[in-house]
């Protein structure tokens, strides 16, 4: 889009890119460097071998995966209703859904605990998946609504003229066109679920079901904090998402260049 800059513009852009990269990389380099202190690269091996790392990895994957799926279903369908179908009262629905972002985590824990215990879901994946989905839907609905609103209105109208039902339009046209925003919601929801710390801490007591965010806690007690290993654990926990993002990036850009209209 801005490929045709004249020389001064290109120089400025280049300088800015380099500065941005430097600012981004410097603290990252520091994090990696700290993770290699003490016992060096062995820290990583210790993190994986002395904690139930693989077990926790699987648990995190399941919880995050299911959450993403549920959030996508709920967000895209509600955004479709709010942005395209617009039945009466959909604005109220939007406010209700957005309000789901308003409650801070600490205030949610106590009432949530009673509900989860009453439903007998304590100590299961669902104890984490259900609240996580509920608090992630508002973001997904918000950005999806924004995205769908920006689509040309002819898209829906043309489909309706051709005799498509709302459902057909939804499945055959809207979802493929919404791939970029699906990618965005997937990444952000997966990230929130993957890094979630408090919900699994409180609602999952069984070590076999615990998640990756618990790994760093194996390296700290009240008076002894093994910072290098905590950082090594942090890097290991972040790697899968960075990889997922790099992969999704290509999907994301393919989706965009495939074109939305026509």
């Amino acid at each position: 889009m801005f490929q045709h800059q004249r020389l001064p513009g290109r120089v400025i852009s280049q300088i800015l890119v380099v500065i941005a990269l430097a600012l981004l990389i410097a603290p990252l380099a520091m994090i990696v460097q700290t993770s290699l202190q003490g016992q060096g690269p062995e820290n990583y091996a210790i993190v994986i071998s002395t904690t139930p790392f693989l077990r926790f990895f699987v648990n995190s994957l399941v919880i995050s995966g299911v959450t993403v799926l549920l959030v996508l279903i709920c967000s895209i369908s509600s955004a479709y209703a709010i942005a395209t179908l617009r039945p009466r009262g959909s604005r109220l629905a939007m406010v209700l859904i957005l309000a789901g972002m308003a409650l801070p985590g600490i205030a949610l824990i106590v009432p949530l605990f009673y509900v989860i215990q009453a439903l007998g879901l304590l100590n299961t994946y669902w104890a984490v998946i259900v609240p996580l989905t509920a608090i992630s839907i508002p973001f997904g609905a918000l950005v999806a609504t924004n995205y769908i609103r920006a689509l040309p209105v002819e898209l829906y109208e043309a489909a309706r003229i051709d005799g498509a039902s709302n459902w057909t339009y939804f499945v055959r046209i809207l979802i493929p066109v919404a791939r970029p925003i699906i990618a965005v919601i997937t990444i952000f929801t997966f990230l929130a679920a993957w890094n979630e710390y408090t919900l699994p801490l409180i609602f999952i007591q069984e070590t076999d079901l615990q998640v990756l965010t618990q790994v760093p806690t194996y390296f700290q007690s009240q008076r002894l904090v093994d910072t290098p290993k905590i950082f090594a654990a942090g890097v290991l926990i972040s790697l899968p998402i960075v990889l997922a993002y790099v992969l999704m990036q290509r999907l994301f850009r393919e989706g965009m260049s495939a074109g939305a209209v026509k």
Partner: protein, 303 residues
């Protein structure tokens, strides 16, 4: 073909009763989950806020609106509210500006722009604990950031960024901006990808400079994203907890205390679950105001 009369942009084409009902079905899954979990939680908190309760024993003592009265006369509440709002405004503004700039930069022909696109998101991915602890080390008086500043300015810099009450909040803002600019970047990136190239071409042909292009064409086209980022930014700033808790814990004194940190302190350290619930209700009320504003503004926009 006769042209079908269209109502205002985006409005449905004369929905029949059957269609309207099925439209509601699309809202059901989201509403069940959000209302069933969060709204129930909000109502529960309103209930708890009328109690003098330690959060553990089965019976709290009903005290009516005493907690709210206490809140309005509590100086720490106002300090933490002010800090939260300052934090919100600063982080949102900076993240939007930098995120927008990054989205533009990756669309130039600059060398290494692909790397920038990938790296911009990496800080977002990191666990808050890791980011907070790293920056705690970087921002010490003899830390790496002061070292960098010393070499740039040629004079020794030994500012205690997080320990000095006059710079602590600013330092926390900058840490947050470093971590989450990638977030705004991604949103702007998706939105810019939707812009029709012909509009850009036309403006270029008219002789506009890049700056004019950005200011008068691109930025307005992205107004939906601006709005989304502001609302998201306010609500996430209201809920910021880990960053502050793990760097300064609200200190020194209460200069960096934010609302969520104060709620945590009241509930967990001081066992005032009722008062903490009242504070949460205040937070929810503020967030709700912004949510309603967003819905109003964006649907007016779409018309």
């Amino acid at each position: 073909m006769t042209s079908t009369p269209t109502a205002s942009r985006g409005a449905p084409l004369r929905p029949g009763r059957r269609i309207a009902l099925s439209s509601y079905l699309y809202l059901v899954p989201a509403l069940i989950l959000v209302v069933g979990v969060v709204h129930v939680g909000i109502v529960a908190n309103i209930g708890y806020s009328t109690l003098d309760w330690n959060g553990i024993s089965p019976n709290g003592k009903p005290v009516g609106v005493a907690n709210y009265v206490k809140m309005f006369t509590d100086p720490t509440f106002w300090v933490s509210l002010r800090n939260t709002l300052v934090f919100a405004v600063a982080t949102i503004a900076l993240q939007m500006i930098f995120g927008f700039a990054l989205a533009v930069l990756v669309r130039t022909r600059a060398f290494l722009r692909g790397l920038l696109r990938t790296l911009a998101f990496v800080p977002v991915v990191l666990a808050p604990a890791v980011v907070a602890t790293s920056f705690r080390f970087l921002l010490t008086p003899d830390g790496a950031i002061n070292g960098l500043l010393s070499s740039i300015t040629g004079q020794p810099v030994d500012q205690a960024w997080l320990a000095d009450p006059s710079t602590a909040l600013a330092a926390i803002v900058l840490i947050n901006v470093w971590q989450y600019t990638g977030y705004s970047f991604l949103i702007y990136d998706a939105a810019m990808g939707q812009i029709d190239h012909s509009v850009i071409e036309a403006t270029r042909i008219d002789g506009a400079s890049t700056w004019q292009l950005l200011r008068h064409v691109v930025a307005p086209l992205l107004s939906g994203s601006h709005l989304v980022l502001i609302v998201l930014g306010v609500i996430s700033a209201l809920k910021t907890f880990d960053l502050v808790f793990l760097t300064t814990a609200g200190g020194p004194g209460t200069t960096t205390q934010v609302l969520t940190g104060y709620i945590y302190k009241q509930v967990i350290d001081q066992f005032h679950a009722g008062y903490g619930a009242a504070l949460s209700v205040a937070l929810v009320a503020i967030a709700l105001v912004f949510s309603v504003l967003q819905v109003r503004l964006s649907s007016r926009e779409a018309r």
